[in-house]
Amino acid sequence: MEYVIELKNVDKEFKVLNRHEGLKGSFQDLFSRDYKIIKAVNNVSMNIKPGEIVGYLGPNGAGKSTTIKMMTGVLQPTRGEIVVNGKIPYKNRTANAQNIGVVFGQRSQLWWSLPLIESFKLLKDIYGISDKDYKDMLTLYESLVDIKELYSKPVRQMSLGQRTLSDILAAFLHNPPIVFLDEPTIGLDVSMKAKIRNLIKALNKEKNTTVILTTHDMGDVDALCERIVIIDKGTMLYDNDIEHLRSFFGAYRTLLIKTKKRPEELSEEERKSELESVETIVKEDFADKDFTFSLSDEGWCSVLIDESQVRLMKVLNHIQEKMKVYDVRLEEISTESVIRKIYEDAENLKKAN
């Protein structure tokens, strides 16, 4: 079996009631039969190999969770084919569940009032894990994170970080070929995020587990994913490795200019007018080229330049001729801005693919 997950032209549609606004509207809805069809997932296809860590990205409401629910067998696709571990998930939900692990956002799937180790023991029985495999897994866990001290703690008393950690360990416990992680680092502090990323990476290496990860945190993507799939409004925008994506956008660099001595002390309006003057200067000489202008948090003017169109130094020289520049900084494009650019500009992406 070459692929652990195969999606072929998958569609998912929902029927929702058209709600009316206001008090009068709620009375109307009482009798309304006015439904509309919403296409949550539109013609999505992908194949995932064993051991891959795939970042599944997209803005809120893009259809990520819906796709994951279909892959786990909770939802049935309206059209198209899904094969997970050689089976059709929604037709064999329980059989499929045996071969996957799921962490769904902040919803703990552990028994709320039981100490963690009791939850693990129950999972051992439910998934029919052999004594040896169970012991080995716990030994592995103990070597990766300080889990021992959490064993006797009921889940309800845990911090969010501890709970997320426990949930991830629980998802890997029966050593499934695939684990789905839906925003695993949401709401966590920096050190906990790092801990969780290291854990996922280590478990993936150790057990060759395929990991499908949805996230809004580009730190997760940089740390974990070799491959990313991007979806927006239900349609797939991109599916390739992260290097490919960076190299396509590699021609882009960001030029940061400090136009006043203390830009951090400027008001919002003053900053905006600074940015506008930079914009006018750049545009008068390079009218036919594309730029993206924005303000950094410290009040610097930032210009995103496509170096395949115009050299960055040329732009900088031109600006310096026209206005006073106190300081300059150059930045390579970050994953963050790449993804933002993709959301903003679906057209470019078709070229990239």
């Binding site: 569940a97 045996q98 769904f104 009032s113 039981l114 439910i126």
Partner: protein, 265 residues
Amino acid sequence: MKRLGFYISIYRKIIIQDIKSKMSYRSDFIISMIGMILTDISELLAFYIMFLNFPSVCGWTYHEMLFLYGFSLVALTPLQCLFDNNWHLRHYVYDGEFIKYCFRPINIFFYYISEDFDTKGLGQFFVGMGTIVYAWYKLDLPVTFINIAALIVAIFAASLFMVAIMNIAAASCFFLTNSGYIMVTMNKFRDYAKYPVTIFPIFFRIIFTFIIPIAFIAYFPSLVILRPQEIPFLTWFSPVYGLIFFYISYRIWMWGASKYSGTGS
């Protein structure tokens, strides 16, 4: 059959753990227990007050009605102890939390229901048993093996009906946004079980026998012991009918769960 053994073993483990953790919240345990017993006592008081003013209800005496009531309390125990999580179902569904029950390789209904063992139901059991024993003594009923066996089978059948009715009521939240009222209403219906079904006109007797079968909860089974000479033919089928009805309620619950896809996100 192997599957059944698997489920029983898991169920036993979950329940033991759950009771252990419940016992560690002692004040909650005691307050809930008192609340439960108080509820039952207020109902007994209501009976008492009614019979102070009226000699009988449709030919049923005070002690016969007490028996019926005690019987319905004991038959309620499995529902209260084992299926109480049904009351939380609509919150899980509404918040989208229910999705977390869909990822395990075991039956969703089992997994969901097994999560909670409600200890306070035990208080109800003791009040109910006490009432049955008291009424039994006052009514001068014979204590024979047949009678005791009949009581146990009757309670078992009655429990199935109670659980089934509440399963269906709980499952309504898969289809409606705010189904809390349905559960409350159904719970009230279940309450009517403590009255003899003969008080109703024929049309409602049919409804309460076949559609919302509350007649099977306490009335038919109690007849076996109270008035063995008056038993309607149907009574003998109540355990079978109970099993069928429970199965139907289970199918409806599962159908709802499969329709569910998690609101939002």
